[in-house]
Amino acid sequence: MSDAHSDADLLRLRRVAALARLELEPAEEARLAPELARILAAFEELARRTPAPAPAPAPLEPAARTRPDVPQPSLAPHEFLPGAPATEEGFFLVPKTIGGAP
């Protein structure tokens, strides 16, 4: 594979990893960039041989169904808070999203 191909594969990987919010080590990038390219090349037959896309099917095409709109018992905070990465005074603690460090 030429260097130009390798560079394009790496750029594509970095763009997708950023979209997926995945931090990759340089060694992982070096392994994953050609792997992703190889997998997509193997699957290219799908794009080449399948005609116009149709809407995604539901496997059994079930009718849309909703449950009755009545209140149901729910979990109490003390039941689910222990599963949170961080809590404070009965609330989830999340990193600062506005005005935090860049």
């Binding site: 994953l32 699957f43 059994l60 449950r67």
Partner: protein, 487 residues
Amino acid sequence: MTSAAELAQAHTRGTCSVRATLEETLARIAAADVELGAVAALASESARRRADVLDAARAHGFPCGPLFGVPVLLKSNLCYAGHESNCGSRLLAGYRSPFTATVVERLLDAGAVVVGHAHMDEFAMGSSGENSAYRATRNPWDPTRVPGGSSSGCAAAVAARLVPLALGSDTGGSVRQPAALCGISGFKPSYGRLSRHGLVAFGSSLDQVGPLATSVADLELVLEALSGLDVRDATTLGGPPITRGTRSTLTGLRVGVPREYLGAGLDARVRAVIERALAELVAAGAVCVPLELPGTELAIATYYVVATAEAASNLARFDGVRYGARVEGGGSLAAMMGATRGRGLGAEVKRRILLGTFVLSHGFEEAWYGRASAHRAALAAEFRSAFEQVDVIVGPTTPAPAFRLGEKHADPLAMYLADALTVPASLAGLPAVSVPAGFVREGEHDLPVGLQWIGPAGGDAELLAAARLFQNRTEHHRAVPPACTNA
């Protein structure tokens, strides 16, 4: 070990206590699982408490359910309140669900005793069990080989007769493929047949909960106990409760045999086993009908586009905020999420998230996800047309018997091809069951081969009835791995 049905009957009659069965089960696991690596975590204390309650209830004349006192192992992506359901991932280490999955609640309502969680490929992504962040499970028939995946621990534990029953999940073959490689029976119901509430999502248009057992009769027992509408899962099918299929003979059964399922890439020894199974069906009065399902050729590509797209979306929640062991990553929210996911997720999960993100990304979605969806619709139409001519479709569950640990681990495409024969039924939402069909000899070991039966959508009960009638004419499912003959 006796079957789940026989155990439940023995407990109900009082021939043996639930507690005694549980203690035997825990002892077997303690003795055999160090090498096998099937069980991720035991729920010994809660299981003992429950066993005592069940024994007391029976003694006081309370009714006993169809799975009364049967020890069951859960795949680690099924939630059981208070117990760790880590999905085989480092990112979810220590995660204890505050609620119980509907299928697990129904198992308990039927009298089952949950003994613990089983190892699995991380987030159900894998065909060998090697993608667990904790340990790779071994195949009881040959410990140098994989048990299949992703329900690797469930299949190995049932095959090694540690437990009579396990509950796994099947997105593209994750119950059927390991069942085939371990010589047991494993069932993926029709899409919507069993509730997914409390199953950690991978590919939402494909995921199904599925049981693994030593016989089809036990799978039928589980289907009856677990199926039905669940208001907490809008995709569950309504209708009357599922009861055992009524078919009583294989005479006249129209068995479709797709040319593509016996084509290139199939191990010659596996082909010979499948041809013997087909001959057995004909001897029983079934009629084999040659079929063509040309869409099969692109099924792997279609599946890995659809499933990874859905996985990329579903796994976005494991970000260190909503779920997952948080890793601080330089101050910003995006950096924290990137670090949490980058360090918490394993190689295969990252690979699939990247693939899924790519096929959904701007400028590529129509060419990849759109076309995969179109091909999926065409494949489902091929199956509908085929089921106008036949009652069931049969073929090998896997192209080859169990491969060696490490043999395909570095080659993702080779690993994906292990699913070639199971993904078509998943894409079409059809019920499919793998039953033992025989063995191939590999060095000093016999390796199991599975026969896959596929039925029309919603035809779960009749499919299992036909597979049971076949199984009752064979002895393959009674064979026990050499190291487990004393179990």
